[in-house]
C-alpha cells in the first residue's frame, strides 16, 4: 500500500532534515565541485608539449653543433661550459647534453625521464636530417577533430557518476542507520505506515537532491572546460534521477540491517570501493584485464558512467543507452526488493 500523502510527507521530512543541516549541504555540494576543480587542474586540457632544453657542452665543435640544431622547432639550445652543463643536466634544467661534433655527435639522456627520451628523438632526428637523411615514407599526421574527447571531457561524466554513487549510498544509507541508532525508527514502526512507503520516501527524497548535485558538476565542466552536452537535456536529467535511484536503492539495501554507524560504514565502503576503482570514472574500463570485466559489468556505476558519457559526449538518445537504462532499472528494483525483504526497524 503506497499512499501519496504519506510518501509526500515522509519525503518532505527527509528533504527538510537535509536542507536544515548546513554542514551536510555544504559538503554535499562543495565537495564534488572541489574535486572537479582539483582533477581539472591536474589533468585539464594542455597546450602543445613544451620544447626540449638542450645544452651543448662548450668545445671547439660547439658552435657547429648549435648551428646544426638552429631553427629546429621545439628545441631550446644553449652552450655551457663543462661543469655548468653537467650541473644544468643534473638539476633537471636540461633534458639532454650534447657533445662531440655534427658528424660524430654524442647525446646524454636519462632513460627514466620521458621528456629526456623526447629530447633525444627530436635532436637525433634533426641531426640525421641535417646530415642528409632521406625518409622513405611520407606519413600523414592528422590532428584530432572536434569529436574526440580529451581526458577532462571524459572525466566530468565520471565525476558525476562518482558523486551520484556517494550521494545515494551515504545520503540514504547513513541516514537510515542514524535514524535506527537514535531510535527514531522505533517510533515510526508503531505508526500505521508500511516499510515500502518509508523506504520509497527515503529514495524519492534523494532524487531531487542528486539531480541538482549532478547539474552543478556539469555546469562547472561547461563553464570551465568548454564541455558541450551533445544529447538531450531531459534525457540527461532522467539519467541523473535513475542513477540517483540506483545508488539510493543500494544504500537502502546496504543499510537494511546494521544498527551502528560503524557497522554500516564498513559495508558501505565495501560497496563503494570496487566501484570507485573499476567502473571507468577515471580510466576507461577496457584498461582492466579480461578477468575483471564480468565484475566491472556487474557494478552499476559502470552503466551509469556509460549512460552519462553516451548522452553528454556522444549525443545518444534513449535507444543508444537502452541497455544501460534497462540494467539500471533492474538493479534499482532488485536493491529495493532486498531492502524491503531484510529491513529492520530496531
Amino acid at each position: 500500500m503506497l499512499r501519496p500523502r504519506t510518501l509526500w510527507q515522509l519525503s518532505l521530512a527527509q528533504l527538510r532534515e537535509f536542507w536544515r543541516s548546513r554542514e551536510a549541504v555544504v559538503w554535499s555540494y562543495a565537495f564534488p565541485v572541489l574535486m572537479a576543480v582539483v582533477l581539472g587542474l591536474a589533468f585539464g586540457r594542455r597546450g602543445p608539449l613544451p620544447p626540449s632544453r638542450v645544452v651543448v657542452v662548450a668545445s671547439a665543435q660547439a658552435a657547429s653543433l648549435r648551428a646544426a640544431l638552429q631553427g629546429v622547432p621545439a628545441l631550446e639550445v644553449r652552450v655551457l661550459d663543462g661543469d655548468a652543463a653537467q650541473q644544468a643536466y643534473a638539476e633537471g634544467r636540461a633534458e639532454l647534453l650534447l657533445s662531440g661534433s655534427p658528424t660524430a655527435p654524442a647525446l646524454r639522456v636519462d632513460p627514466l625521464r620521458p621528456e629526456s627520451e623526447l629530447a633525444q628523438r627530436r635532436v637525433a632526428d634533426a641531426l640525421q636530417r641535417g646530415a642528409g637523411r632521406e625518409d622513405p615514407l611520407a606519413i600523414a599526421i592528422e590532428e584530432p577533430a572536434g569529436g574526440a574527447h580529451g581526458y577532462v571531457e571524459r572525466l566530468i561524466p565520471g565525476l558525476i557518476g562518482l558523486n551520484l554513487l556517494g550521494a545515494g549510498l551515504w545520503g540514504v544509507g547513513f541516514n537510515l542507520v542514524d535514524m535506527r541508532a537514535k531510535h527514531l525508527l522505533r517510533r515510526l514502526v508503531v505508526a500505521p505506515m508500511g516499510r515500502a512507503e518509508f523506504l520509497l520516501a527515503l529514495l524519492l527524497s534523494r532524487l531531487g537532491l542528486v539531480v541538482i548535485n549532478s547539474c552543478l558538476i556539469l555546469l562547472f565542466g561547461i563553464f570551465t572546460f568548454d564541455l558541450t552536452v551533445q544529447g538531450a537535456w531531459p534525457l540527461l536529467f532522467g539519467v541523473f534521477a535513475l542513477s540517483g535511484a540506483v545508488f539510493s536503492g543500494l544504500g537502502l539495501a546496504v543499510a537494511s540491517r546494521p544498527r551502528t554507524i560503524e557497522g554500516v560504514s564498513g559495508v558501505m565502503n565495501l560497496a563503494m570501493l570496487p566501484q570507485w576503482l573499476l567502473c571507468g570514472s577515471f580510466f576507461d574500463v577496457s584498461n582492466f584485464p579480461a578477468y575483471f570485466q564480468p565484475l566491472v559489468q556487474l557494478l552499476p556505476l559502470t552503466h551509469v558512467n556509460a549512460a552519462l558519457r553516451g548522452v553528454i559526449l556522444d549525443g545518444h538518445g534513449i535507444v543508444g543507452i537502452g541497455w544501460e537504462l534497462a540494467y539500471l532499472v533492474g538493479f534499482t528494483l532488485l536493491s529495493f526488493f532486498l531492502a524491503l525483504r531484510f529491513f529492520r526497524w530496531t
Binding site: M1, T6, Q9, L12, R16, L184, R187, V190, A191, P192
Partner: protein, 319 residues
C-alpha cells in the same frame, strides 16, 4: 467478561532476551486484562518487565511465548497496519526528526492515519501552540513528552499506550498531561499506562497491576490494593542510635497494629487507629530509654502495598 469488552488480553506472556548464560527473563508468565474505557496502570520498579509487556502489546517486540490480543486482534494474525490505525503509542523515550518543527512533525504523523485530528487541534490539546514553529531538538523534556502524546493522539486512537509518560517532568507538566489522559478516557478511550510514580497511578488508574521480576504480584483498584494491608494509616518512628533492640513481636502487640517493618533506626507500623497506637508506642520507647528523633503519620499508599509485597521500595530498582 466478554471478548469485546476487553481492549487487551494477555495470557501466559513470556519474553526471554539472549540465550545461554546471558539469558534474561524480562516477562515470566504474565496474565492481564485491560477493559475498554479504563485507565489500567502497570506498576513496578525499573526492570520489572513493564516496558517489555507494553512493547509486546504494541507489536514492537515478539513474545517468546504466550498469547496477546489487542482490540480483538493478534499482531501475527491479520492486518497489522489496520490495527495500528486504532492505537496510539507514546514510547518511554521518543525521538523525532530533530530539524523539523513541532507543526511539521505532527503533519508527518497525521499523514499516516485514515482519520485524524487536525494539527491545530493537537497543538491546542497539548498546549503546544507557542512551540508550533520550534524545532523538536530545541524542546524541553516536558514539551517533547507533550509532542509524543500529541503524535499518539493524532489518529483518534481507541487504545493508548503510555510508557512512563511523565518521568522526569515537573509537577505542573505532569498534571497537565494527566488532564489530557483523563479527558481521553472520558471520551471513551482506553489507556494502558506504565509508571513508577504511586501518585500518578492512584490519581489516574481505575485498576492497577503490580509487576515485579516479570510476574504479576497484585491486581485490583487502588482502593482494593490498599485494603490488602488491613490498615488505613502508617506510623513511622525514627529512633536515635542503630541498636534499638525492638522486635516485630513487641510491636505487633501494640493496639491496632496490622503490619510492622523494622529498619536499623526506624520503625514503620501499619495501623487502623493512630490515636490508639501512638501513646503506648511512645511509652514503650521511653521505658527502654530510647530517644525519639521523629514521628510521622500518613495514609497508606500504593508504595506501602508494594513494600509490603516485595520488601523493597518502588524506586529502589529491580534488584
Amino acid at each position: 467478561m466478554s471478548e469485546t469488552s476487553l481492549a487487551i488480553e494477555i495470557r501466559g506472556l513470556r519474553k526471554v532476551y539472549g540465550s545461554g548464560k546471558s539469558q534474561v527473563v524480562a516477562v515470566d508468565g504474565l496474565d492481564l486484562e485491560v477493559r475498554r474505557g479504563e485507565i489500567f496502570g502497570l506498576l513496578g520498579p525499573n526492570g520489572a518487565g513493564k516496558t517489555t509487556t507494553v512493547e509486546v502489546c504494541e507489536g514492537l517486540t515478539e513474545p517468546t511465548d504466550g498469547d496477546v490480543v489487542v482490540l480483538g486482534q493478534r499482531w501475527n494474525g491479520g492486518d497489522a497496519l489496520a490495527l495500528r490505525q486504532r492505537i496510539g503509542v507514546s514510547l518511554q523515550e521518543t525521538r523525532f526528526f530533530e530539524k523539523l518543527t513541532v507543526r511539521e512533525v505532527l503533519g508527518v504523523f497525521r499523514s499516516f492515519y485514515r482519520e485524524s485530528r487536525s494539527v491545530a487541534e493537537c497543538l491546542d490539546l497539548l498546549s503546544l501552540h507557542e512551540k508550533a514553529n520550534a524545532r523538536t531538538r530545541d524542546l524541553s523534556g516536558g514539551q517533547r513528552q507533550r509532542l509524543a502524546v500529541a503524535c499518539a493522539l493524532i489518529g483518534h486512537p481507541e487504545l493508548l499506550f503510555l510508557d512512563e509518560p511523565t518521568t522526569g517532568l515537573d509537577p505542573q507538566s505532569r498534571r497537565q498531561l494527566w488532564e489530557v489522559f483523563l479527558r481521553f478516557r472520558d471520551d471513551g478511550g482506553t489507556i494502558l499506562l506504565t509508571t513508577h510514580y504511586m501518585d500518578e497511578a492512584a490519581q489516574l488508574c481505575e485498576r492497577i497491576g503490580i509487576v515485579d521480576h516479570g510476574k504479576r504480584i497484585a491486581l485490583g483498584t487502588p482502593e482494593e490494593l490498599v485494603a490488602t494491608l488491613g490498615a488505613d494509616h502508617v506510623v513511622e518512628v525514627d529512633i536515635q542510635g542503630s541498636d534499638h533492640g525492638l522486635t516485630e513481636a513487641d510491636l505487633q502487640r501494640l493496639p491496632g497494629v496490622s503490619g510492622v517493618r523494622l529498619e536499623a533506626e526506624a520503625v514503620s507500623l501499619s495501623v487502623s487507629a493512630p490515636h490508639l497506637t501512638i501513646p503506648p508506642l511512645l511509652a514503650g520507647l521511653a521505658r527502654r530509654g530510647l530517644a525519639l528523633e521523629g514521628l510521622r503519620t500518613r495514609h497508606v499508599s500504593l508504595e506501602d502495598v508494594f513494600v509490603g509485597l516485595t520488601g523493597r521500595h518502588l524506586r529502589d530498582g529491580g534488584a
